[in-house]
Symmetry: C2
Subunit: 258 residues, 2 copies
Amino acid sequence: MPVGGSTQRGGPGIRAVDPWLLGNESESRSHQLLSDEERAHLAAIASIIRFKKHEQIYSEGEPAEAIFNVISGVIKVYKTAPDGGEHISAFLYPEDLCGLSEAGRYANSARAVTAVTAYSLPVSAFRRELSKDADLELHVIVKLCHDLREEQRHAFLLTQRHAVAKLAMFAQLQERVQSAAVQPAEIYLPMNRSDIADYVGISPAAVSRAFRDLEAQRIITHRDRRHIRIIDREALEDLACNRATKAPSRRSSDCRGP
Amino acid sequence: MPVGGSTQRGGPGIRAVDPWLLGNESESRSHQLLSDEERAHLAAIASIIRFKKHEQIYSEGEPAEAIFNVISGVIKVYKTAPDGGEHISAFLYPEDLCGLSEAGRYANSARAVTAVTAYSLPVSAFRRELSKDADLELHVIVKLCHDLREEQRHAFLLTQRHAVAKLAMFAQLQERVQSAAVQPAEIYLPMNRSDIADYVGISPAAVSRAFRDLEAQRIITHRDRRHIRIIDREALEDLACNRATKAPSRRSSDCRGP
DNA sequence: CGCTGGCTTGATTCTATTCAATTTTCGTGG
DNA sequence: CCACGAAAATTGAATAGAATCAAGCCAGCG
C-alpha cells in the first residue's frame, strides 16, 4: 500500500481510532469514519487543490478560510520561532485534517513535504455542513480526540532525554501512522533530516548520530535515507519507553540508552 | 477571582477560545460555551464527586466509564513511564474536561493536585446527550480544538533547550489559563516543583535553579513557593520565544538564554 | 558529469542531569 | 500552640549528553 498514494474515493475522508468503541484488538487500528453519503455531501462543498513539494499551504496568523483534507502526499504542520527555528507539530497523511484555527486565524503554518493533493473545504460551508449533520459532528469529535492523543504522544516523545530514545519513538509513531497493515514492513520517511530534527526537538546532527547508533546496535537498518526497517522491535520498545518491564532481570532503569 | 474556587453555577460548564469566531481582541479570551439550558441538561446526567488532594481520579488503561468536568480545584493529567517517571500532559482548571479515552480505555491517568470537586458524566449518557444536541456537539468540538492548540503549545514549550525558557513559557501558560481578568496579577502555582518538572520536561533541580535565575534577573518575584509575579514581561517574552523581533537592534538570536 | 544542498562526522563548549548534602516547609501529635 | 519528623526544595560538585561550528561526504538533479 503506497503511503503517499491516493487511497480515497468519493470525497473527503477522515481516519481515526475511535475513543469509545471498545477495542477488540483489531478495532484499535484507525479506520475510515465517514459514510459514503457523508463523503459525497462534503465533496459538494470541497474543491481539489494540488501543492508542489515544499510549497506553502497556509501560514500562521492568516485568516483561516479553509480547512484541508489530505488525499495524497504528506504535509508538515509547524510553528516558526522568532529566531527562525521551526517546530513541527505533526506530519499529516492521507485522510488527515489540517487548518486548525484560533479566533479565526490559523494557529500554525503548513507546508507540503511531498507533492500533495488535498480537498479544500471553506470553513463557512464546512460549519454549515456540521450543523446540518449530527453524525458528521460526532466524527469530527472522534478525529479531534485522535489528534489530541497523538499530540500528547508527541509531547511525551519530546520529554525523552536521549536522542536515540526520541528517534525510537519517532520510528514507532511513523510506523503506526503508516501501517494499517501488518508490522514488519519498511517505514517510509518522506521528510528530510532537518524536519525530523524539528519534530523530535534535537539538532539535525543529533538525528544523524542517533540513526547511526540505532543501526550500529542492529535495531534498525536502512535501504536508503528515506526507508528504514525495524529489526529488533523489542530493543526499540525498550528505548522508546513503551515497554512494561516484563522480564524480571533488566537494567535497573528501563528508559535510558545503553 | 479565586482560581481554584467555585466559578460554576447551574451545572457542567466548558471554557474555551472559539477557533472560528474572529477575534476582536476581547473575544480571543476563553469564555463559557454552554447555555444555561445545556448546562441544566447535562446536570441531569451528572453526579458530583469530590477528591482529596493527591487522590487518584482514574488510571491509564482502565475502562473509561466517565468523563469529568472540573468545578473547583486543579487536576493533573499524566502518563507513567516504565521506569516510574511521570510525564504531565496538562493541568486542568475549573470548566475543563478530562477523561480522554482510546478504544474505550483511559489514554492517561489523572490525579487531584488540590482538593477537587467535579462533575462525573457517564460516557454512555454523555454520548446520548451529544447525539440529541447538535449545539452541544459543536461546543465539544470547540473545546477539543482549544485543548489541541494548548497541547501544541505544550509541545512547543518542550522543545525549548534552556530551562529558563521553559519556565518562562510555563509561567505564561499558567497566567493565561488563570487570568480571565487583567494581566499584572499574581500567578498561583498549585502544583509542586516535581510536577512542574514533569510538565516542562526537566529535573526538579533544574526547575529550582531556573526559578532562581529568573528572579536574579528581576524577571519574576515570589511571595512564596506557590505565588509568583511577573515583573519584566518583556524579558519574559523574549525568553519564551513569543516575541516577534520588534526592536531592530536585538541580539542576533532571540531564543537563547542570557 | 559536475554542481549544489543535504547529510554526516569530528572537536569543542555548554547545559542539564545526577547524586548527595543541607535547608525549608508542612503535617502531625503532643 | 509549639515541637518534631518526614517530605520537599534548594544548593553544590562532578559527569554525561547534546548543541554548535566547521569540514568533508554523498546524493540527487540539471
